[in-house]
C-alpha cells in the first residue's frame, strides 16, 4: 500500500518535473522571440555574437558615473536611507570591495556568464541566455522565488522588496524604452539590451554591418565612463576592441574558478 503510494508520488513528481522543464523550454523560446532576437546571427557566415564587456581597473577613477548612468537609463529607483538599512539598494552596475589586486572598489555589472548558474535554477524560465550571450530576464514572468539570487556567485541580482517610488514629477524622467519592474520581481543588468537591438536594427535598415566602432560605447555604463575604462563589443569577433583587450596580459576574470566563464573581463592595474 505504502509502496504504491510512493511509486505514484515518484511518477507524479517526474511527470510534473518533465512538464515544468518542457514548459520552461517553450517559455524561454517564446521569450527570445518576444525579445526580438533571431535564433541565429544577422550574417549566416559569421559566428553568433557573444556580447561582452572589458573593464580597465587601471583607468577607472571610481567616479560612479556608470552606476548612475545605468540607473537613469534602466529606470532603477533609489530606495532611500530606510530601505538601504534593511536591504541593499538596486545597482545593476555596482561597486564591490577591492578585488583582483587593487586596493580600490571594483565596478561590477552582471558577468553574463557563458555557463550562467542563475538560468539553471529558474523554475519558470523567466531568465535565459539569449543567442547573443546575454543573460536576460523577462520581468513579467518572474515569480520572485529568488533562487537565481542564491545561485549567482557574483550577487548580481536584485529583488524588488518594495514598489519603486518616483516622487513628484520624477516619473517624467523615466526612459520610455525600458519597463520599470514592480515589487516582488528579481531584476538584473541586461547589457542595455534595448540599445543593442536599436543598433542592430539601425544597421539592418542602413544595410551595413554593425561595426565594432559603433558599439564600443553602446551600453549606458560604457558610454558615460569619463576615462573610457569600459569597452563593449563582440567577443567572438577576434578583431573587436574587447577581443583585443581580452588578450592583454592584464586580462583576468572574477571568480574564474567557479567555472561560470564570465563575459566581463577585467584588466588588472598596471604595476
Amino acid at each position: 500500500m505504502k509502496r504504491d503510494d510512493d511509486n505514484l508520488r515518484d511518477s507524479r513528481r517526474k511527470l510534473l518535473a518533465g512538464l515544468a522543464v518542457s514548459a520552461a523550454g517553450v517559455l524561454a523560446a517564446r521569450g527570445r522571440a518576444l525579445a526580438g532576437e533571431s535564433a541565429t546571427s544577422d550574417e549566416p557566415d559569421k559566428r553568433p555574437r557573444r556580447w561582452g564587456l572589458v573593464i580597465d581597473l587601471d583607468r577607472c577613477v571610481r567616479c560612479g558615473g556608470c552606476v548612475v548612468a545605468c540607473q537613469q537609463e534602466n529606470n532603477v529607483a533609489p530606495l532611500g536611507p530606510k530601505q538601504a538599512v534593511r536591504t541593499r539598494p538596486i545597482h545593476w552596475m555596482d561597486f564591490l570591495p577591492p578585488a583582483l589586486g587593487s586596493s580600490l572598489p571594483t565596478p561590477i555589472p552582471c558577468m553574463h556568464c557563458e555557463d550562467p548558474p542563475c538560468v539553471k535554477v529558474c523554475p519558470v524560465g523567466a531568465t535565459y541566455q539569449s543567442p547573443e550571450g546575454i543573460t536576460a530576464q523577462i520581468w513579467e514572468r518572474c515569480i520572485g522565488c529568488r533562487h537565481c539570487m542564491v545561485a549567482c556567485p557574483y550577487a548580481r541580482r536584485y529583488f524588488n522588496w518594495s514598489e519603486p517610488r518616483w516622487p513628484g514629477d520624477e516619473l517624467s524622467s523615466l526612459n520610455p524604452d525600458v519597463a520599470p519592474r514592480p515589487r516582488g520581481v528579481v531584476e538584473k543588468c541586461t547589457l542595455c539590451h534595448h540599445r543593442i537591438r536599436a543598433a542592430v536594427e539601425r544597421a539592418a535598415v542602413d544595410e551595413e554591418p554593425l561595426s565594432d566602432e559603433a558599439v564600443r560605447r553602446l551600453p549606458a555604463c560604457a558610454q558615460s565612463c569619463p576615462t573610457q575604462a569600459i569597452s563593449f563589443g563582440d567577443l567572438s569577433d577576434p578583431e573587436s576592441e574587447v577581443s583585443r583587450l581580452a588578450r592583454s596580459p592584464r586580462a583576468t576574470r572574477l571568480l574564474a574558478e567557479a567555472g561560470t566563464r564570465p563575459k566581463v573581463i577585467y584588466l588588472r592595474e598596471d604595476t
Binding site: 567616479c63 537613469q72 561597486f95 592595474e269
Partner: protein, 748 residues
C-alpha cells in the same frame, strides 16, 4: 494625447497625408458612419502629465546640447528629450572638456530637475523668521518688493550695504550680477565658490600676474606629484589625467592624508597642512644635490629647510623625501599639481608659494602649465556708473577682502557673520543669496543664523527651501541649469580654452525664472543708470548677442567653441571674446614676489608682508584649532567623487552610490586601523566625532587608506561642516577647512 484608434482601412490613398492624420481621419469617418461620438479607448494608456510643456507629440524625440553645472569643470552634456520630458543626460562627445564622458553628478541631474521639493513660485515669509510660514506671491509682486527695498537703500545713500553671496563663477550670469552691483554701487560681491577654484585663483595671478585659465599638459608630463585629497577624486583633472593614453600617461605620485579614489603609482600619506613644508624640503634636496639649475633661486626663503626638519610637520620620513626629490629630477618634465584642500589651511598662501617655488625650480612648469586666456565682455556697452555708485564702490568691502585685514583675498565669505553682527565697517541692510546655502555648507551655523536674523532684508534665490532660504524674507526660486540660458567658461583645463553653451533642455518645470532674467528684471525695475547698464530684455538675448555671430553658430552646433576675435570685424562692434593671454604676455615666473611687493590694498594701506624686504611672506607651520590633548586627531574633510556643493539632498542616487561597502547613506568616519585599536572602535561601529565647536554621529570605516592620526570625512553629507572651526588664512582669506582637531569615541 490620445493614441490613434486602430483601423482596418487601407492606407493607400492620400499620399500627402501622414500616417497619423490618415488614421485619425479614417477613425473620424468611421465614427461618422456609425453615427456616434468616438468612445474612450479602453486600452488607452494615460501617460504621466508633462509638467509645463505646451507642445509635444507622441513619440517625439530630441537631443539638446547644454553644459553641466554641478562642478566647475563644466562638462558638455547631451540630453535626450522624449515627448517634452528630459529622460537621459549623456556626455557630449564633441565637447573638448569631457569628450563624451560624464561622471555621476551630471548623470543624476534629472532627479533634481523633477524633484518634488523644488520651490514652485516666489514665496513671502508671513510669520517670524524661521517659522516656516510662507505665502505664495506672483513674480511681479516679488520683483517689485525687491526693487522697492533696493531703491530705498540707494536713495538713502548706502548702496554698499547691499551684499550678494554668489555660489557661481565663470558664467555670463555671474558677470551680469557683477555688473548689477557695479552700477548699483556695492563692492560686496562675495564669492562662495569651491576651494578648488580658490586655489587656482591663488596660484595663477600671484605667480604670473594674470587672471585666466591655466592648463597643465598632463599628457606630456613625465611625473605628476598630485597634492591634496580632491585632485584625483572629484575634480575634472582626474578625468583628463586618466584619459591620456596608457603609453603617455605620467607616473603619478599622490601626497595626501587619504588615499585617492583612483589608482596611483604611489601614495605618500602626509599630515594635514604639511604640503608647504614638503615642497620646501624637496626644494632643499634639489638644490643641495644640484639636481636642477638653481640660477635665481638662491634667495628663496625656507630653502634651507632639510627633510629632517620638516618630518615633524609632514610626517613623511626624510628618506622618502630624498627619494621623491630624485624621482622628480629624473622623470622630467615633472609637474606638481595641487587642489583646494592643500591651501585650505591657516598657512594657505605660504603653502602656495612653496609649491610654486618647487614648480619653478623644476623649470618645466612654464612649458607644461600655460595661462591660456580669459573672457572679456567687450561686447557689452560701457557700464553707466553714476557718481553715487562710483563713490560707494570704493569703500572697503564688508568681508575685509582687499583690506589690511586680508590683503590678498578675493572674497572672504567666512568673515561675513562677524561683520554683520558687529555692523563694522558698516551695517548690512540687504543680503541676496544665490547658488549658495552658507548656513549648511559653511562652518559656524549658529553665527550664520544669528547674522541672518540681524539683516533687515534677506532674499534667497535658491530652488530649494534650504536652511538659508528658510531664514529669508523672500524666496525667488531660480531655474535649475537644465532650464536656463547661459555661457560658461570651464574652469577645468582645456586647450584651447572654450566657451560652453548652456541652453534650456526643457521649459521651466515649475514657475521658476532664470537667474539672468531676474537680475535684468531687477535692473529694469530700479531704472536709471542701473537699468541702462543692463539694457537687455532676456537672458537669452544676452547669451545670443554677447559673442560674434559666426562663433555663436559654431558654439550652438557643437555645444562649445572658441570666440576669439583678434582682428575680427566683430571686435570693432565690441562683442565678447576670449583673450588669448599666451600670445599677448611673455611667460615669467614671478614667485608671487612682484605681485605681492606691488600689492596695494583697496583701503590704501600696504601690507606689512609686502613692506618686509624680499616681498615673500615666510613659510609658517599650520595652525590647528583645539587642544591636542583633548582632541588628538586631525579632521580631514574631503570632496568625494559624487560631491555636490549645493542641494545635495536632491540627488538620492548620489547619496546611494555604493562607493563604500554596505549601506552608503550614513556619514562615515574613516580612520586608520592603528587609531581604531587606540580608541577601541571596530569597523561599522557607530561613533561620535567631536571638535571644540560641535559633534556629529557617524559610522566608523576602518581602512588603511587613511593616515594614522586623522579622521577623513566626506563633505556633502550633513554634520561634517558643524565640526569645522571657521579659522582662515589671514593673507589669502581662504577658509582653513583642514585646520580642526577632533576626538572620536564609540557612541553609547
Amino acid at each position: 494625447m490620445k493614441r490613434p484608434p486602430r483601423s482596418t482601412e487601407p492606407a493607400a490613398a492620400a499620399s500627402h497625408l501622414g500616417r497619423r492624420e490618415l488614421l485619425g481621419s479614417a477613425a473620424l469617418a468611421g465614427a461618422a458612419l456609425l453615427g456616434c461620438r468616438p468612445k474612450k479607448d479602453p486600452y488607452r494608456i494615460d501617460k504621466p502629465p508633462v509638467p509645463r510643456v505646451p507642445g509635444w507629440r507622441t513619440g517625439e524625440e530630441r537631443w539638446v546640447l547644454s553644459t553641466c553645472a554641478l562642478c566647475e569643470a563644466a562638462c558638455g552634456i547631451k540630453v535626450r528629450v522624449v515627448e517634452g520630458r528630459a529622460v537621459k543626460i549623456e556626455g557630449n562627445p564633441e565637447h573638448p572638456v569631457n569628450r563624451g564622458g560624464l561622471c555621476s553628478r551630471g548623470q543624476a541631474a534629472l532627479q533634481a530637475l523633477y524633484h518634488p521639493e523644488r520651490v514652485r513660485s516666489p514665496l513671502r515669509r508671513t510669520g517670524s523668521r524661521g517659522s516656516g510660514q510662507w505665502k505664495t506671491i506672483s513674480w511681479d509682486e516679488a520683483i517689485g518688493e525687491v526693487t522697492a527695498k533696493l531703491a530705498k537703500l540707494r536713495a538713502a545713500g548706502g548702496p554698499e550695504r547691499l551684499v550678494l553671496i554668489d555660489g557661481e563663477t565663470g558664467t555670463l550670469t555671474h558677470n551680469l550680477w557683477a555688473r548689477f552691483l557695479l552700477a548699483y554701487g556695492s563692492p560686496n560681491h562675495v564669492g562662495m565658490g569651491s576651494t578648488g577654484s580658490a586655489a587656482v585663483e591663488l596660484d595663477t595671478p600671484y605667480r604670473q600676474g594674470l587672471y585666466g585659465w591655466r592648463a597643465d599638459d598632463l599628457e606630456r608630463t613625465g611625473l605628476l606629484l598630485a597634492m591634496g585629497t580632491d585632485l584625483l577624486a572629484s575634480s575634472g583633472q582626474a578625468m583628463h589625467l586618466q584619459c591620456a593614453s596608457r603609453a603617455r600617461r605620467p607616473r603619478v605620485i599622490c601626497v595626501s592624508p587619504r588615499r585617492p579614489g583612483c589608482r596611483v603609482d604611489e601614495w605618500i600619506p602626509i599630515a594635514p597642512g604639511g604640503y608647504g613644508a614638503l615642497a620646501l624640503a624637496l626644494v632643499h634636496v634639489l638644490l643641495r644635490d644640484a639636481l636642477v639649475d638653481s640660477r635665481g633661486f638662491e634667495a628663496l626663503p625656507g630653502a634651507g629647510r632639510t627633510p629632517e626638519e620638516t618630518t615633524q610637520v609632514t610626517g613623511i620620513p626624510a628618506e622618502t623625501v630624498e627619494r621623491l626629490a630624485h624621482a622628480l629630477a629624473e622623470n622630467r618634465p615633472a609637474l606638481v599639481a595641487s587642489d583646494g584642500s592643500v591651501v585650505a589651511a591657516s598657512n594657505g598662501l605660504s603653502t602656495a608659494i612653496a609649491i610654486s617655488a618647487l614648480n619653478g625650480l623644476l623649470g618645466e612648469r612654464e612649458r607644461l602649465a600655460r595661462v591660456l586666456g580669459t573672457v572679456r565682455m567687450a561686447g557689452w556697452p560701457a557700464p553707466t556708473v553714476d557718481a553715487l555708485a562710483a563713490a560707494r564702490r570704493a569703500v572697503p568691502r564688508v568681508d575685509g577682502a582687499g583690506t589690511a585685514a586680508c590683503p590678498f583675498g578675493q572674497s572672504r565669505v567666512q568673515a561675513l557673520p562677524a561683520a554683520i553682527a558687529s555692523a563694522k565697517p558698516y551695517p548690512v541692510e540687504a543680503l541676496l543669496v544665490r547658488g549658495a546655502n552658507p548656513l549648511a555648507t559653511l562652518p559656524g551655523r549658529q553665527a550664520w543664523a544669528a547674522a541672518l536674523q540681524r539683516v533687515p532684508f534677506v532674499v534667497s534665490f535658491s530652488p530649494w527651501l534650504d536652511e538659508t532660504a528658510w531664514l529669508a524674507d523672500l524666496v525667488l526660486p531660480e531655474s535649475l541649469f537644465l532650464e536656463a540660458w547661459d555661457m560658461v567658461w570651464p574652469a577645468a583645463v582645456t586647450d584651447p580654452p572654450v566657451l560652453s553653451l548652456r541652453q534650456p533642455v526643457v521649459g521651466p518645470v515649475h514657475g521658476t525664472r532664470q537667474s539672468g532674467d531676474l537680475v535684468l528684471a531687477l535692473a529694469a525695475g530700479l531704472g536709471g543708470s542701473i537699468g541702462s547698464a543692463l539694457p537687455w530684455k532676456r537672458q537669452q538675448d544676452v547669451v545670443e548677442t554677447s559673442f560674434p555671430p559666426q562663433s555663436m553658430a559654431a558654439i550652438k552646433e557643437k555645444g562649445a567653441g572658441r570666440s576669439v576675435c583678434a582682428d575680427d570685424e566683430n571686435c570693432k562692434h565690441g562683442l565678447g571674446e576670449i583673450v588669448d593671454l599666451e600670445s599677448t604676455t611673455p611667460h615669467e615666473f614671478a614667485f608671487f614676489a612682484r605681485r605681492i611687493a606691488s600689492a596695494g590694498t583697496r583701503d590704501g594701506t600696504r601690507s606689512s608682508e609686502a613692506a618686509a624686504g624680499s616681498g615673500l611672506p615666510p613659510w609658517e607651520a599650520p595652525r590647528f584649532s583645539g587642544d591636542p590633548l583633548q582632541f588628538p586627531l586631525h579632521l580631514v574633510p574631503y570632496r568625494p567623487a559624487p560631491f555636490v556643493a549645493d542641494g545635495a539632498h536632491a540627488f538620492p542616487w548620489l547619496s546611494e552610490l555604493p562607493l563604500v561597502s554596505g549601506n552608503p547613506w550614513p556619514l562615515r568616519a574613516e580612520i586608520n586601523p592603528a587609531d581604531a585599536a587606540r580608541f577601541g572602535v571596530a569597523d561599522g561601529d557607530e561613533v561620535l566625532v567631536e571638535s571644540s565647536v560641535g559633534s556629529c554621529a557617524a559610522v566608523a570605516l576602518v581602512s588603511d587608506g587613511v593616515r594614522p592620526g586623522v579622521v577623513a570625512m566626506a563633505l556633502g553629507k550633513s554634520g561634517v561642516v558643524d565640526l569645522v572651526v571657521p579659522d582662515e588664512d589671514r593673507l589669502s582669506g581662504l577658509l582653513a577647512w583642514q585646520g580642526t582637531r577632533v576626538r572620536l569615541r564609540r557612541a553609547s
